[in-house]
């Protein structure tokens, strides 16, 4: 046991070298840990600040949206610019009644045999299939 204190390496006692090494390691470790933690905390603080700023921006945007979408303004715009008005009772319809108001399917056009009929104008054929296509 005592012999440990006498052992030397290149003139220095090993126990001193080991102690110094331990001390340096510990100091360096604590320094690195604190530095790492400080950077992390700074990053966290920066992200939190960013979140707060974004949250503020979101609140501002929400307030702006609420202001722009306020019913009085929407109604004034819709009636003034678009000529819209509240729907009447007769304009309401239940989903089950939609079928009654569905546009009837167009009658299928039966093409004449090529031998007995002149060549069909493709524009006319298009109109026959889609009668509403060229309507204004």
């Amino acid at each position: 046991m005592i012999g440990v204190f006498h052992k030397r390496f290149r003139g220095f006692r090993i126990v001193n070298i080991v102690g110094l090494g331990l001390l340096v390691t510990l100091v360096l470790g604590v320094y690195l840990a604190k530095t790492f933690a400080w950077r992390e905390r700074n990053e966290i603080a920066a992200v939190e600040l960013q979140i707060r700023q974004e949250a503020l921006r979101i609140r501002l945007l929400q307030a702006e949206v609420a202001h722009l979408e306020q019913p009085r303004r929407i109604q004034a715009l819709s009636s003034g610019a678009l000529g819209m008005s509240p729907i009447l009772a007769k304009q309401e319809i239940r989903p089950a009644d939609l079928q009654k108001f569905a546009r009837p399917k167009p009658e299928p056009v039966i093409a004449a045999p090529p031998s007995s009929a002149p060549e069909a104008d493709p524009r006319v054929a298009m109109l026959a299939v889609r009668p509403q296509a060229l309507q204004p």
Binding site: I2, L23, A45, V65, Q70, P71, R72
Partner: protein
């Protein structure tokens, strides 16, 4: 006597520990015996080891604290909530009020290089600040506050000027993004964050405590509020009253779904409004409601057994009660059934019914539905009614058709709810009630009475004075009301100044568990228009607006139209009796 010493053998663990300590204590002696210089080295080594161990423990603790401590606030300190007062939202989450960041501008004249240039630049961005005030701040002896409530855009504009001597401080402000919409209900808070009116005042504590934890949801539905305001404003434009009120409630839960008072104001600038504009006529004003009170008299008559649906009342001649004679506004001059008394709004029939009811029963029922005290609602503005000092026969006759008693529109709404929701008096609330909640109340009328009143109210729209409130397929029921106002100048009731109203309920069809809604439109001193043939009674000025409101809000409330024709109902046309 000789004591005998008997050694006690300690347990093995204690003996081992004692042996270790003994060996450690004697280590120095052994070392000294071996070599004297080694003694001090051993001591030094021991002290170094002890300090090293302590240092390792502290290093581990410091590292652990640095890496894993839950200090999330960062170097800037504790994270504060974004606002001092919680947001206010409608029942669907639409924003009604919010604390938003604003900024206060400070000027330090000692750092200002060029006073005229700074003044000119600031005046261009802040036109509301008087030049005199600007000059005083720029030439004063020390740093001074110039203006608060700057928006982030204004702050950026000023900051971008790059002028020395200008600095900003945070200045949170309450903002009401909807402006005048629901202004009286929402109320307003001062710059210090204290609620001064409306919900802001009523829920002040809750709003403060809920800051940063989500909003406070109110009972109103913004869509319903908008439709109510729009139709009320159209009626106001047509009949130019002194004031007007609109209320929509859910009569089962007591929730106020819409409430408006005209004239209104912008809660962002309450100081710019007059007292008349800030007055919440729905809660803080009382009116002699007139014939809308006949619904209570008829309900009391039915509930107390004084009358039934087959009862008749002789309205052929004016009715003398004590020193006064009661007339009908437009006399039917015939014997009326109970429903006809309601449809013709007969004062004579109602007074005769009230006489049978008697003062005690009448006052008890009125108290039961809340007509003798401020409306039960969270709003602190809720006005105290003016009630008869003594409930005698004369008072009973007067109050039976809405004279001699002044109540607020909210009190009237709550009382109608008790008549029509199955007979239970439920307090009104401006706080959202969770769907499916069973609201507790006090039973005042029987469910049978309530069901009969729904029938009578409906009959008044299909064949009575409330015809113009009919909305297709929504089985609207209602009662008109026209109260003459007391005129101090003539020390009597005015024949030209009236309070005209319409109290409506829909749908009247369906069982007791159907969700029903109450709508009140009230005009204070309306003026007749060409369309109303000179009339400004409730049936002419308030009932049409109520009908339009119902027509618009029914789809929003999920009330489906039933357009199948009914044999029992005749098509509603013009008011049958000039709409008293």
């Amino acid at each position: 006597m000789t004591a005998v010493f008997t050694p006690v053998r300690a347990p093995l663990a204690w003996r081992t520990l004692g042996g270790l300590i003994w060996r450690l204590e004697h280590a120095f002696e052994r070392a000294r015996a071996a070599s004297a210089p080694q003694d001090s080295r051993l001591r030094i080594a021991f002290v170094m080891l002890a300090f090293g161990f302590a240092f390792v423990v502290m290093a581990i603790g410091a590292t652990h604290q640095a890496l894993f401590s839950d200090n999330r606030a960062g170097p800037d300190g504790a994270a504060a909530p974004l606002e001092a007062r919680a947001d206010l939202t409608d029942r669907n989450g639409a924003l009604l009020a919010a604390d938003l960041p604003h900024f206060a501008l400070y000027v330090d004249p000692r750092e200002v290089w060029d006073v005229p240039a700074t003044r000119q630049a600031l005046a261009a961005i802040l036109p509301d600040v008087a030049v005199k005030r600007l000059t005083k701040a720029l030439t004063g002896p020390k740093r001074a506050f110039l203006i608060g409530g700057l928006t982030p855009q204004q702050r950026t504009s000023i900051h971008d000027l790059g002028l020395p001597g200008l600095s900003f401080e945070d200045d949170e402000r309450r903002l009401y993004p909807l402006g005048n919409t629901a202004a009286h209900l929402i109320g307003f808070a001062d710059s210090g964050g204290a609620g001064l009116a409306g919900v802001e005042r009523a829920f002040d504590k809750d709003i403060r405590s809920a800051a940063g934890q989500g909003g406070v949801a109110l009972s109103i539905d913004l869509r319903i509020q908008a439709a109510l305001e729009d139709e009320l404003h159209k009626a106001v434009a047509e009949f130019t009253p002194r004031g007007a009120v609109g209320v929509v409630t859910n009569i089962r839960t007591g929730e106020v779904l819409g409430m408006t008072s005209w004239p209104d104001f912008d809660p962002n600038q309450p100081g710019a409004a007059t007292d008349d504009q800030r007055l919440n006529r729905a809660a803080a004003s009382v009116f002699e409601m007139g014939s809308t009170f006949k619904a209570f008299t008829v309900a009391v008559g039915l509930d107390s057994g004084v009358a039934n649906m087959n009862s008749t009342f002789d309205a052929r001649e004016p009715y003398k009660l004590g020193y006064r004679t009661i007339h009908d506004y437009h006399a039917a001059r015939k014997i009326l059934t109970l429903t006809e008394v309601f449809q013709h709004s007969s004062n004579i029939g109602t007074a005769k019914l009230a006489e049978g009811i008697g003062p005690q029963r009448m006052s008890r029922y009125f108290a039961g539905v809340g007509l003798t005290r401020p409306a039960k609602v969270e709003l602190l503005e809720s006005a105290t009614p003016l009630t008869p000092r003594k409930w005698d026969d004369d008072a009973v006759a007067s109050t039976s058709f809405g004279h001699g008693i002044d109540v607020s529109p909210l009190a009237l709404s709550a009382a109608y709810g008790a008549v029509l929701n199955g007979g239970v008096a439920v307090p009104l609330t401006v706080r959202k009630v969770a769907p499916g909640t069973q609201v507790e109340g006090t039973r005042v009328f029987s469910p049978q009475t309530s069901a009969l009143m729904l029938q009578i109210m409906r009959a008044n729209v299909t064949g009575g004075s409330g015809g113009s409130a009919n909305a297709p397929g929504l089985s609207v029921g209602g009662k008109t009301g026209t109260g003459e106002k007391y005129d101090p100048a003539i020390r009597g009731y005015s024949t030209t100044k009236q309070v005209s109203s319409f109290a409506a309920v829909f749908p009247t069809e369906g069982g007791p568990n159907v969700e029903r809604y109450f709508v009140l439109i009230l005009m204070d001193e309306p003026h007749p228009s060409a369309k109303t043939y000179g009339y400004s009674t409730g049936g002419w000025v308030a009932a049409p607006a109520a009908g339009r409101v119902i027509d618009r809000i029914a789809p929003l409330l999920g009330v489906r139209r039933n357009l199948a024709p009914k044999a029992a109902e005749t098509a509603a046309a013009a008011p049958a009796s000039e709409g008293l």
